[in-house]
């Protein structure tokens, strides 16, 4: 049964956060004549407890708070497009927050933004779009998706504004997801985007970019984990690399590889977290050179530029969002795994974070860095 006369490929559901980027994405698509609707995703509860009826009124929080939703709604109204709020809290809790907590408890440093893109924006939202006859979705990421006739595949390329490029957090996109997503900001620079926003009179045009993980405002992961799991993080020993006890830590999940500050240790020379072992409940602290390594194994990989790596390939790769790519050689070791060897040792290759491989400005693919 056709619910809409419009061609579904001209019907675009735009994920709007209330920020300048997604607002401009919506404005560009609307100007292009697409049949757009704006959507804000409600991803976690605002502190209300529906169960007993003894609920407290909703509270303001960070990224998908009421005021951000109101910003997005105001932009949509100004553009004359419908605006909806979709409630994906249950999926988000299961597929992002639970995974985040499990990762930390296993001694890793997970990246929930990548899981959110993978399981929420480009899965749940796309499914919802299909149900509503929207052929496409759109986000305000600074990346480009292009179909390569020669290779017969969709490619993910860096945004032209390399400073703002966000391809790192989108490496998990599948061919189908790329085919159904529009990234209107891929060819633009941030100043251009701000200009367009100002021209449209979007009053949020000068708002700063958000940095925190949306469901851990303030960045206190330890407190979040204790609240989320309902268990106190057990204290344990800080060890030297040869196993001597240096002091007490406040729970392995409160530390991340390469960390120097906030250890609460008085050491003769700077000490860095160089190993986290939840099984033994220990955190090893040592000299900086111990942090450097050349190899990593990645699991749960996704390849975009090709179906699989037939042979070892030269590439450039990065192991965290804010890092320049480093020359390396990648080799696929199984259906979902690969091994990467950097030309130069890299500092603090952190399990749980993503490794993303590039060929120039094109994403080859990526995966989750495994525990060594």
């Amino acid at each position: 049964m056709p619910f809409h006369s419009a061609d579904p490929s001209r019907r675009v559901l735009v994920a709007m956060s209330g920020g300048v980027d997604s607002s401009v994405a919506a404005a560009l698509l609307a100007a292009e004549g697409c049949d757009c609707a704006g959507v804000t995703l409600k991803l976690f509860r605002d502190g209300e407890d529906n169960a007993g009826g003894r609920a407290a009124p909703p509270r303001e929080r960070s990224c998908c708070s009421l005021s951000d939703t109101e910003d997005a709604r105001a932009v949509a109204h100004r553009l004359g497009i419908p605006f909806y709020v979709f409630n994906f809290t249950e999926r988000f809790e299961r597929q992002v927050m639970d995974r985040f907590a499990a990762g930390y408890l296993a001694g890793e440093t997970p990246n929930p933004c990548i899981d959110c893109n993978r399981f929420i924006k480009f899965s749940a939202l796309l499914e919802r779009a299909s149900a509503l006859d929207y052929g496409l979705i759109s986000t305000g990421h600074y990346v480009r998706a292009e179909f390569d006739e020669g290779g017969g595949r969709w490619l993910l390329r860096k945004g032209l504004d390399t400073d703002k490029d966000q391809s790192y957090v989108l490496y998990a996109m599948t061919q189908e997801q790329l085919a159904r997503t529009r990234f209107p900001l891929g060819e633009l620079t941030k100043p251009q985007v701000r200009e367009i926003a100002a021209a449209h009179g979007f009053w949020n045009a000068r708002k700063r970019d958000s940095q925190d993980i949306c469901f851990v405002p303030g960045g206190d992961y330890g407190a979040f984990l204790e609240r989320w799991t309902g268990r106190a993080l057990p204290p344990g020993d800080f060890l030297t690399p040869d196993g001597c006890v240096l002091g007490r830590h406040k729970g392995t999940a409160r530390y991340t590889l390469g960390q120097r500050k906030g250890l609460g240790l008085a050491l003769p020379r700077p000490g860095y977290v160089c190993a986290i072992c939840p099984a033994e409940n220990t955190v090893t602290v040592g000299d900086e050179p111990l942090l450097f390594s050349r190899e990593l194994e990645a699991r749960d990989i996704n390849l975009i530029a090709c179906a699989r790596l037939e042979r070892p390939v030269r590439c450039r790769a990065k192991v965290r969002y804010r890092q320049a790519e480093q020359p390396a050689e990648a080799e696929q070791t199984g259906p979902d795994t690969l091994r990467l060897r950097f030309d130069q040792p890299q500092r603090a290759i952190t399990p749980g974070q993503a490794v993303v491989l590039y060929d120039g400005d094109t994403v080859i693919g990526g995966g989750t860095i495994g525990s060594a």
Partner: protein
């Protein structure tokens, strides 16, 4: 495309008669009822007229009616007044139910943080009825208020208010009922109900928005939430919203005058819609089959998400609602459906259709057909539905 408004529990269209009744008070009789001059006198006379007419509609004395900005304020004020009076006498216990409107529940939650003890009664699974015996059992020496809604805004269940009112009166415990969804839709006599406080809102019965009233029985404590002028005999500071009050009075009279006629049409239409939707596999009616508001239909369809359902119905020209819309406009499984005992995933797929006297049989048939198709379509693409049907 047709356009069928079936979200009358959210708000209603202003009736033409109510609109007419408002017009003289914007620029003709625009004076401040508190003013001494002729303009003020005229406004004051109109205000008194509206108060008398509304009192008459409820079986109350005009002095027992205080105008407010709407239902939420009336609820807040009733609870605040009884709670403060109770606290002054060392009584800090309040009894309510799990399916009250948030204007009641959130207010009670705030009182809890101030040292009040609140008993939230469960409701009968499926129907949402509050059992008077549960109320009786919850009463204590220090109970200063019982607050139970007359009819629920989501599932339309009508509570045994007269019974609860009688048992409270017997124990001399103040009783408030949030009748926002009921006033103008069912006959109400505050004396027969033994209600001490009763809240209503104009826009639920084809009156204007931004106006409501609180009935407070003579002799019961009533305190102002707003401090300022001595309007409403000191019970509510702020210049009265006269056009809205006049519109509300007119709308209430009209709704009650038409009540018999409206019910004769609306109840069969409601039941026709319920019967059609019951034909959908794995559909369930929420709330009581007969003790329900004449305008309320509420269903859950397994394997269907409320949000998608609403948007597709909107695309078909049908305005409906689902769960309870939170401030951001997103849908959470409502506390009402969860209190009925529905599992989370099913509570997510609820659909509320609320009729008005402007709805016709053709509207109902079109709506039923559209819902059948939309549910089928959404189920065809739902992994949840696939699992459910595979389990059979």
């Amino acid at each position: 495309m047709r356009s069928i408004y079936l979200d009358n529990a959210a708000t209603t269209a202003l009736s033409p008669a109510a609109k007419q009744a408002m017009l003289p008070y914007f620029d003709g009789i625009f004076g401040n009822p508190s003013s001494l001059h002729t303009w003020g006198q005229q406004a004051s006379a109109a205000l008194q007229d509206a108060r008398e007419r509304i009192a008459l509609c409820l079986g109350a004395d005009p002095k027992e009616i205080t105008f407010t900005s709407g239902g939420s304020e009336a609820d807040n004020q009733a609870i605040f007044s009884a709670a403060m009076a109770g606290a002054a006498r060392g009584k800090q216990h309040i009894v309510s139910s799990a399916i009250e409107h948030h204007a009641v529940l959130y207010y009670l939650a705030s009182l809890q943080t101030q040292g009040f003890d609140v008993t939230i009664l469960p409701v009968e699974p499926g129907t949402g009825l509050v059992r008077p015996a549960d109320v009786a059992a919850a009463l204590r020496e220090d109970t200063c208020l019982v607050t139970i809604m007359f009819a629920n805004n989501e599932i339309g269940t009508i509570q045994p208010i007269a019974e609860i009112g009688a048992l409270c009166r017997q124990r001399k415990i103040p009783f408030h009922t949030d009748a926002v969804q009921a006033v103008g839709h069912v006959p109400i006599d505050v004396r027969a109900l033994r209600a001490d406080y009763l809240s209503l809102a104009g826009h639920k019965f084809h009156g204007p928005k931004g106006v409501g009233a609180l009935y407070c029985r003579k002799g019961m404590p009533l305190r102002s939430l707003l401090l300022g002028g001595a309007q409403e005999r000191g019970h509510r500071a702020g210049t009265e919203n006269l056009p809205a009050i006049m519109g509300m009075a007119s709308a209430l009279e009209e709704s009650l005058a038409l009540l018999g006629q409206t019910d004769a049409v609306m109840v069969p239409l409601r039941d026709r819609l319920i019967a059609r939707l019951r034909d959908i596999p794995r559909a369930r009616l929420n709330g009581h089959p007969t003790l329900r508001l004449p305008n309320n239909v509420n269903f859950c369809f397994e394997g269907v998400e409320g949000e998608a359902l609403l948007l597709l119905l909107d695309a078909q020209g049908i305005a409906a609602s689902s769960g309870s819309a939170c401030t951001s406009g997103s849908l959470d499984p409502s506390h009402v459906l969860l209190a009925l005992g529905l599992p989370h995933e099913i509570a997510h797929g609820s659909l509320r259709l609320t009729l008005s006297r402007y709805i016709t049989e053709a509207d109902i048939d079109y709506t039923a057909e559209a819902i059948l198709q939309v549910v089928e379509r959404l189920r065809a693409m739902s992994p949840v539905w696939e699992r459910i049907t595979a389990d059979r």
